[in-house]
């Protein structure tokens, strides 16, 4: 696209004022949804997003709490518009859907609710939200399972359906959805909360249209799209023209140690950005496949984080990026391939994308690989001191990759997710489990001028046995690669009964393992890769890490050389 097609803004001051109001509206819907929801997944982990759309399905604004939801509601709204043209909608209709293949979803637990907003008898906007429901049925608690061989094992599939017709809630449908979940009441409550969050959004959009005039709002929305597109275009123009390719892989396709390669090809031509995944391996037998909505979100995440972290997520940004993946591949699977465990793959897609983008960007943007997975531990057993059962799921952070600007962060979630932990104390109050250790893994960082972040060790024991354990993880064979001369971080390990005679390394996709009385599970997540030549590491920084025990003398000597270690030690 040539520069002369670049549009200008009609009223930059009004646009900025309007943007503030728009973001306040999106924030208000998101906050009210999180506050009103019942399940910890939405309320505590904030695994949800809300968005405002134009009548033709373009995303105006989004309040997103995890990057994996970036733009993902566009799939749902697109599916609604495909199923029902706006003239078949009436005021008070509310749509619901989740299916990755039939309704633009990303995996079955993410349920979308979409509400058309009428102004003067016409659909003028949509409000939409997505929430991760802790269970929608299927073969395992939580509905996600690396070993799922088709989407039919992942619980209920919802095409686009009307949850409300002209203001009337379809209680039969809601009852059916709830009945298919292992935690029915939560579904019932949270889906109703999703619908009322949209209602609130509709009210706020009405107020905005009333105070500014609907036509003025349209004009300002167009300005916002133009501005966002122009801003992204400026960042793309700063990139080097050409095509760059980078690889990553998943180490298991969910059913066994079958690697699937991921290839990201990034092309910049002037102000155009084209991302394709030609060269990526075939779709996984298990649940690690990534459908379009999730793949797009991964690309949008990388664009934001590398090119412009504060770029507003709207169609002005998304329409400037062309994305494709070969049909039948891991990143464009054919139904009914399972997609539940897609977040691990998405983070590996991000790894490949960062590697490719970096080749077309200045050195200051360089970033080594981080843990680049979303490792999950699932425990099922009895609640403490009670007969009722529980299913406790947690994803564990790890090392972030080192960057041109400094060390990678220790013990954090990276890239497409950022959910908070369940602290030790509430965990032990609730479940018959004991957290023996929750610590950073010493000697897990990749070395370099700047070191990678440290992985996390989380060791949990079953003091009274009777606990069923399931995991899904990756990066257990190869560590996160460094960049510009930095070395790899330490790979992940999943160990049963660590530190005892019965110590045993487990498969990262282990399922339904029984823990007897006193047995333990220990997950050590990957460390991040280093940036730059280890010889350039500042002695003071190395000294600091040695004193803090983040790195042992032996490993420091191996990676940085005995002379540098001696110099560092002389500093304290």
């Amino acid at each position: 696209m040539a520069l002369d097609t670049k549009k200008t803004l009609s009223d930059p001051i009004a646009m900025e004022v309007f943007t503030n109001r728009l973001l306040a509206v999106a924030d208000e819907i998101g906050t009210s949804m999180i506050r009103a929801s019942f399940s910890s997944n939405i309320k505590e982990r904030k695994d949800c997003s809300v968005a405002l759309f134009s009548a033709d399905g373009r995303l105006i604004a989004q309040a997103s709490h995890i990057p994996l939801h970036l733009g993902s509601l566009m799939g749902s709204v697109g599916a609604v518009l495909d199923a029902y043209s706006t003239d078949r909608m009436v005021e008070g209709d509310v749509f619901i859907c989740n299916d990755p293949y039939a309704a633009g979803g990303t995996h079955t637990p993410d349920i979308s609710v979409v509400t058309p907003v009428f102004v003067d008898g016409q659909v003028r906007y949509f409000t939409a939200n997505i929430g991760h429901h802790s269970d929608v049925g299927g073969t395992v608690p939580g509905s996600i399972h690396g070993g799922a061989t088709s989407i039919f094992e992942e619980g209920l599939r919802l095409p686009v359906m009307k949850l409300c017709r002209a203001g009337e809630l379809d209680e039969d449908l809601l009852r059916m959805i709830s009945l298919n979940s292992r935690s029915s009441e939560e579904r019932w409550l949270d889906i109703k909360v999703q619908a009322s969050a949209n209602e609130r959004g509709a009210r706020l959009l009405h107020e905005m249209a009333d105070s500014l005039g609907a036509d003025k709002v349209d004009e300002l929305v167009e300005d916002l799209f133009t501005y966002t597109a122009n801003r992204l275009r400026n960042r793309i123009l700063e990139m080097q023209d050409g095509t760059a390719t980078f690889h990553s892989k998943i180490e298991s396709d969910g059913l066994g140690p079958v690697e699937v390669p991921i290839q990201a090809n990034v092309t910049v031509k002037g102000d155009r950005l084209i991302v394709d995944f030609e060269g990526t391996g075939p779709q996984a037998r298990g649940g690690l496949n990534v459908v379009a909505s999730a793949l797009n979100a991964s690309v949008y995440y990388v664009v934001k984080t590398l090119l412009d972290p504060y770029l507003l997520p709207n169609s002005g940004m998304f329409e400037g990026i062309e994305i494709s993946a070969p049909k039948g591949s891991l990143l464009n699977p054919i139904a009914p391939a399972a997609t539940g465990a897609r977040s691990i793959t998405c983070n590996k897609v991000v790894r490949a994308l960062i590697g490719a983008f970096s080749q077309l960007l200045p050195q200051e943007k360089a970033q080594a690989a981080g843990q680049d997975i979303v490792p999950v531990m699932v425990f099922a057993g009895k609640r403490r001191g009670r007969d009722e059962g529980y299913v406790y799921l947690e994803s564990i952070g790890g090392g972030a990759g080192a960057r041109y600007a400094g060390n990678g962060m220790d013990g954090v979630h990276v890239h497409v997710t950022n959910s908070s932990n369940l602290p030790i104390e509430p965990l032990e109050i609730e479940y018959d489990l004991v957290v023996d250790e929750y610590a950073l893994v010493d000697d897990s960082s990749g070395a370099g001028q700047y070191r990678g972040g440290m992985g996390i060790a989380r060791q949990i024991s079953a003091p009274n046995g009777g606990v069923i354990f399931t995991a899904r993880s990756d990066g257990h064979k190869e560590g996160a690669p460094g960049v510009a001369g930095g070395t790899s971080g330490r790979p992940a390990h999943l160990i049963k009964n660590a530190g005892t005679d019965a110590e045993q390394e487990l498969d990262p996709m282990v399922a339904n393992l029984t823990l007897d009385k006193g047995e333990t599970i220990r997950l050590e997540t990957p460390g991040g890769g280093g940036y730059g030549d280890p010889a350039k590491r500042a002695e003071a920084a190395l000294a600091h890490d040695l004193r803090d025990g983040r790195i042992s003398t032996a490993r420091a000597e191996a990676l940085y050389g005995p002379a540098k270690v001696a110099q560092a030690k002389a500093l304290y």
Binding site: T8, P12, I13, E16, V17, N20, R21, A24, D27, E28, T31, S32, R35, A36, F38, S40, K43, E44, S183, E185, E186, L189, V193, S196, N230, R231, N234, Y301, T305, P309, Y310, Q367, R384, G397, A400, A405, M409, G411, V412, H413, N418, S419, S420, N421, P423, I424, E425, P426, E428, I429, V434, E437, Y438, A439, L440, I456, Q459, R547, D548, G549
Partner: protein, 674 residues
């Protein structure tokens, strides 16, 4: 007799003194002395007593607000601190909630813990969630840890064990051992500082307490000496983050509780002053040079929260819910490369400052825009103590903003203000509409040097109908201290399923807490008839991980009444309740109060003189308007003035836009109807 309150800010230390005989209030300020904040206090107090010839024993109340603790954390000027913790929990502070602080911007990183990792030392000991000992405390290990911490030169020690909120035995024993090894050290234990579950927040709060403790101690020591040297006899009180006053001894033990000291006093004062004018529902709006603080007051009661970040570190304790954004007079206006006009969050601050101040600032700020539009003028700004180059401001806006956008200088400056106002409006929505309140039910209460300048526009932007500007809006925090009561909060965690059978245990626990509260009020010297206790239960539905607060009517409230209260609170907070789901009790809170605050001064006597100071041209939406300037102190009560108008006083300028009206009510508060 006299009552005096003072608030130590970054630039000025503000004082408000009230003569209790005639109710006359005096406001004054001195330049702050960051190297020893008590120096500015002494200077101001001496000046006041000497100038007026008041004997220091005439002061029946001395109260102060201080951000000494907060600044120590922000500037990382606390003392080297060690941590002794449970085996397996050494990295609780390093990991936090395992989240990164920004989703996309990796330049924003987690803060480095205040305890260096090598000084975070594990000892064998462990309790379970019931407080049963799984591993006994290894006292030798504690001794060795203390020696290691001592030998490394640490001056403070935090002791934080898992589940210590349930039973502090191990922590208390460990503290004894540490004190034997390090008699000089400042020691904080988590079961004292915050006996509440969720280890990261408890550990973090305890570590901050220890980190700031010794220097706070020295500050308080100097502060007391200075008061003594002047001859003050009454024991000073300090306002803490929940707007209550406490004694110096309590501050020494829990300095972390002062992290919002000054701002909390402002909100408490605002609630009382607005209440006296008949406005129980307000949004407070305090604008300084670099930041804007907003908070909500509903039916006279400020909104509370239980946690916030101080310099990115979580602090958990009951405190006023104040939302701070980076927008103020120094916010920089700039066009970005895609043609949008942004105002802030970058700030020119005090240095280089606005272009017009001629101290090296080259980018236009909101202050420059106010000058160009005639809202502020060179003579009144900072009482003429500074030379103001309005032409330079005009030129900066003309070349950097107006020309590229094809606008007049005036419209560009107006655009800067509109955007600044929209940014502030968003912060106000975050504390109000996002929490389910309708802004049309609230008045905007503006204070701080720059609050009244933009308040009318902010009210219009957010749909509020009235703006209140108190007398002397620049000294609201100092005034608020005089209006506050003595208060403290106690908490206990004990998660249990609520039932009629188990309810007596809750009542019994409250009875024990009552004793603690009563003893504390004894220590604060509060007369029995002035005491007030509030009982609050944090509860949730079974399976939730999020609590609502249920306020009990009395200590002997029945189980059924609690349950009813819980459902009502859940409905109020989240919009629904569930009839037959089990309820869990999580925390018991006791909030104790001792009435000590004065009522706001409600008699306003205007100076009997012509209030009109002159006229000047001021630019509003629609062009230049001839605008009358008034001396606020001379405005007769209830005389309605039509906008546009500018009302001047020493610490502030209030703008009333065309079409709006303003009057001063009988209490001296100015009310703008927008």
């Amino acid at each position: 007799m006299y009552r005096i309150g003072f608030d130590v800010g970054g630039t000025f230390t503000d004082f408000t003194a009230i003569n209790t005989t005639d109710g006359a209030a005096t406001h004054f300020k001195t330049s702050s002395t960051p190297h020893d904040p008590s120096e500015a206090i002494e200077t101001g107090l001496r000046h006041f007593v000497e100038e007026r010839g008041i004997s220091p024993d005439q002061f029946e109340f001395v109260g102060h607000g201080t951000t000494v603790a907060t600044n120590m954390v922000i500037e990382r000027r606390g003392v080297p601190t060690g941590l002794i913790t449970t085996q397996g929990a050494r990295d609780v502070l390093e990991i936090g909630r395992q989240t990164r602080p920004h989703l996309y911007d990796y330049d924003i990183t987690k803060p480095e813990p205040l305890v260096e990792r090598y000084m975070s030392i594990e000892v064998p000991e462990r309790m379970n969630a019931d407080g049963d000992v799984l591993v006994p405390l290894d006292e030798d290990a504690v001794r060795r840890a203390a020696e290691e911490i001592r030998d490394a030169g640490m001056q403070a020690v935090a002791i934080c064990f898992l589940h210590a909120y349930r039973d502090g035995r191990h922590e208390r024993r460990a503290a004894e051992i540490v004190r034997e090894v390090m008699p000089e050290a400042y020691v904080s234990i988590s079961s004292d500082v915050l006996p509440e579950f969720r280890e990261f927040e408890r550990f973090s709060t305890t570590v901050i307490n220890a980190y700031v403790g010794p220097r706070m101690d020295r500050y308080l020591e100097r502060f007391l000496q200075r008061l003594q040297s002047i001859g003050f006899a009454s024991a000073p009180r300090t306002i803490h983050s929940n707007g209550g006053l406490m004694s110096v001894d309590t501050v020494r033990a829990f300095p972390v509780r002062t992290c919002l000291s000054g701002p909390a006093a402002g909100v408490v004062g605002a609630a009382k002053v607005a209440g006296a004018s008949g406005y129980p529902n307000i949004v407070t709006y305090d604008v300084g040079g670099t930041s804007t603080d907003v908070s909500l007051v509903l039916e006279g009661r400020p909104a509370f929260t239980t946690s916030r970040l101080v310099a990115d570190y979580p602090v958990r304790c009951p405190m006023l819910d104040i939302n701070v954004i980076g927008a103020g007079g120094g916010s920089i206006a700039a066009l970005d490369d895609a043609g949008a006009l942004k105002v802030g969050p970058r700030s020119a601050g005090a240095f280089p400052g606005p272009v017009a101040y001629g101290k090296g600032g080259t980018e236009p700020t909101t202050t420059d825009a106010n000058l160009v539009l005639g809202r502020l003028d060179a003579d009144t700004l900072l009482s003429g103590r500074m030379t103001v180059d309005k032409e330079a401001a005009r030129k900066a806006i003309a070349t950097q903003i107006a020309a590229p956008l094809g606008l007049s200088v005036e419209d560009a400056a107006l655009g800067i203000l509109r955007i600044a106002v929209a940014n502030m409006g968003r912060a106000i929505r975050a504390v109000s509409t996002e929490k389910g309140h309708r802004l049309s039910d609230f008045a905007l209460f503006a204070y701080g040097g720059a609050g009244p300048l933009h308040a009318a526009a902010v009210a219009v932007e957010t749909g509020m109908k009235s703006v209140l500007v108190p007398a002397q809006p620049g000294t609201m925090c100092a005034r608020g201290i005089l209006l506050s009561d003595v208060g403290f909060d106690f908490v206990r965690t004990g998660v249990s399923t609520a039932s009629a059978e188990a309810w007596p245990q809750i009542t019994a626990a409250f009875a024990e807490m009552y004793k603690d509260g009563d003893a504390w009020l004894d220590g604060e010297g509060i007369a029995p008839e002035a005491r007030e206790m509030q009982y609050v239960v944090d509860a949730r539905y079974d399976g939730q991980n999020h609590e609502v607060q249920v306020v009990l009517d009395a200590i002997d409230t029945t189980y059924d009444a609690f349950l009813k209260g819980f459902r009502a609170a859940h409905r109020q907070e989240y919009g629904y309740d569930i009839a037959d789901r089990a309820v869990e009790i999580v925390n018991l809170r006791l909030s104790v109060k001792g009435a000590s605050g004065a009522d706001p001064d409600t008699t306003h006597t205007p100076e009997n003189a012509d209030p009109v100071m002159g006229k000047r041209q001021v630019y509003f939406d629609g062009g230049w308007f001839e605008t009358t300037l008034y001396d606020r102190a001379k405005l007769p009560v209830d005389q309605v003035i039509n906008g546009p108008a500018i009302l001047q006083e020493m610490s502030s300028t209030t703008i009333v836009e065309p079409g709006q009206t303003v009057r001063v009510d009988a209490t001296g508060t100015m009310i703008i109807e927008v």
